[in-house]
């Protein structure tokens, strides 16, 4: 049974259009402002990067051919085969080191350690992220080059870069496993999963994309780092012949290229080409991180409510 509405004369507040207490005008003005401001800020952020890409590209691309990628440097001319191979080899070996320590460390910290130990390790990782890369390089020089007698070598450079990348992988792993919802953990253990089965079958399915993203991010940060390599390897014109032979790297090449360039202008072109290659690799890795994150978001949608 519907009750009849009680209407005893109209009151002022019954007129909706006259009620200004919601400040609709002010809200609209604010929305318009934000609508202008955001694209502007986006432009401010993107412009330097776009300009950098354009400038480096304009210096590097004239004369950039397939041969640039496939021939070794000779003097201040030639291609970038040796530093490209060197950079990628150092990056891959370094990533291996970073995964071995960062992933295992993150897993143990998130899953097994008590709050206090975990806290100390997290602080250590944060300090490592904040440590100037040249100090990591100095550490690598003292420990691997001198103490272990590895010399200026692929091995010393890779492990040092690995040390540099480790805290990034550690953080991603720690956060990824730490963010698995507790009710999912309870459900898995409550279904009779052993702790290790929970870890590998359930937690890893949730954490893996984030860990992978962290690894690629660490690679993107590490591939262009010059300081960890500066004291641990040296620029050579041929690809590395063994673990304990020196390996050239694109980042080092940019640096020496510009120095030599003061005397030999062609070296500058080569340095720009190395810089361009690095930028392409870094941007590629970052795009990969985005793609992984977006796919993971889609796959895990609804899990974290």
């Amino acid at each position: 049974m519907a009750t009849a509405p009680i209407l005893i004369g109209l009151r002022p507040e019954d007129n909706l259009a006259l009620d200004r207490s919601g400040h609709l005008g002010r809200r609209r003005a604010f929305d318009r402002l934000v609508g202008w401001l955001l694209p502007l800020l986006f432009l401010v952020a993107i412009l330097p990067i776009a300009w950098l890409l354009y400038y480096v590209g304009s210096q590097a691309l004239p004369g950039f051919t397939l041969a640039t990628l496939t021939t070794d440097p000779s003097g201040a001319t030639g291609g970038l085969f040796a530093p490209l191979v060197g950079s990628l080899t150092i990056l891959l070996l370094g990533t291996g080191v970073a995964i071995a320590f960062g992933f295992l460390g993150g897993l143990v910290t998130a899953e097994y350690l008590g709050e206090q130990w975990a806290g100390w390790i997290r602080i250590t990782a944060n300090v490592m992220v904040g440590t100037p890369a040249i100090i990591i390089g100095l550490f690598g020089y003292l420990v691997f080059v001198i103490y272990f007698h590895w010399g200026l070598s692929l091995a010393a450079a890779s492990v040092t870069l690995g040390v540099f990348m480790t805290p990034y992988v550690f953080r991603a792993t720690d956060i990824a496993y730490g963010s698995v919802p507790p009710h999912i953990r309870e459900a898995a253990l409550g279904s009779g999963a052993r702790p290790r089965q929970y870890l590998f079958r359930v937690a890893s399915a949730i954490a893996f994309p984030q860990v992978l993203g962290g690894i690629f991010l660490a690679m993107a940060i590490g591939v262009g780092e010059t300081a960890p390599l500066y004291l641990t390897t040296t620029t050579v014109v041929l690809p590395p012949t063994g673990l304990f032979a020196p390996a050239s790297a694109l980042s080092l090449y940019i640096w020496t290229g510009f120095q030599t360039g003061l005397i030999l202008p062609t070296a500058i072109r080569l340095a720009f080409q190395a810089a361009f290659l690095l930028l392409v690799i870094v941007i590629g890795l970052n795009v990969l991180v985005r793609v992984i994150a977006a796919r993971a978001r889609r796959r895990l949608e609804g899990l974290f409510q």
């Binding site: 459900a187 409550g190 999963a193 079958r201 895990l300």
Partner: protein, 258 residues
């Protein structure tokens, strides 16, 4: 006050003097209760009275929370599940648990249902058959049979909850513990889960925690009323609803409970 327990002829689970403490707090106080085959017992009581603690102590999930101490005994087919020789993992495989919120894993519908079987490395043919059967018993089969490879997270909340029931059923447990399984579901989904549970009680022991006396009235054969960690009264559903012996029970049932 003594609990008035009806003793089933053959107890699948027998709880004796179960006391759970967290430091100085007593969460459960000398609870004794038997669960016979083919029964659906509703555990009701005001918020914070210990219902969740009770069902969790039945399959040793209390051990997943630091700081809880369990005394007394819980016997599963006559064996003390808290015995040092008994592996808690094995206990949980015999007595499954379904929670308040759906807890599907980020895998396909099939793999979710097969989860418990994968843990014991069951053979592939066996897994296929058991998953089909579990989904049928959980009342989900007709809705998902065509798309078992779909991600389970894309199901609706009610479907996810029935998938969790299927996951628990696939390992053929004798006991299923349900902690407010419908409190996050809408009425239609609740009705489907209730129908599922009603079908299941012909086969296994169901222990259903619910804050909803109406739900207990609809599907349980027996109601156990908990208050401040004590088992106040337990008896056939109709008796508890119509002729409670204890004032506290009556107050709770009639909704006059403060």
């Amino acid at each position: 006050m003594n609990a008035i327990a009806s003793v089933p002829t053959e107890a699948v689970v027998s709880v004796q003097d179960l006391t759970v403490t967290a430091g100085a707090r007593t969460l459960l106080d000398h609870v004794s209760l038997d669960f016979g085959a083919r029964s659906l017992t509703a555990v009701v009581g005001p918020s914070g009275c210990g219902k969740t603690t009770f069902v969790r102590s039945l399959n040793r999930m209390t051990e997943l929370t630091a700081g809880l101490a369990v005394e007394g005994s819980v016997r599963y087919l006559g064996q003390d599940i808290y015995d040092a020789a008994v592996d808690p993992v094995v206990v949980r495989r015999r007595m499954g648990m379904v929670f308040q919120r759906p807890t599907v894993f980020p895998m396909s519908i099939f793999e979710n249902a097969a989860f418990g079987l994968r843990l014991v490395h069951a053979e592939e043919d066996l897994v296929d058959a058991a998953v089909t059967e579990a989904l049928q018993r959980a009342g989900l089969w007709d809705e998902v049979r065509a798309e078992l490879d779909r991600p389970a997270l894309s199901l609706s909340g009610g479907q996810q909850q029935r998938l969790c029931i299927a996951r628990a059923l696939a390992v053929r447990p004798r006991v299923l513990l349900l902690d407010e399984p419908t409190s996050a579901l809408d009425p239609a989904a609740t009705q489907r889960v209730e129908a599922t549970l009603q079908g299941l009680k012909e086969e296994i022991v169901l222990v259903l925690v619910t804050h909803n006396v109406g739900q207990a009235a609809r599907i349980s054969d027996r109601i156990a009323f908990l208050h401040s960690g004590k088992l106040i009264e337990v008896g056939p559903t109709a008796d508890i609803l119509e002729r409670p012996r204890v004032k506290l029970t009556e107050q709770f049932i009639t909704g006059r409970y403060a």
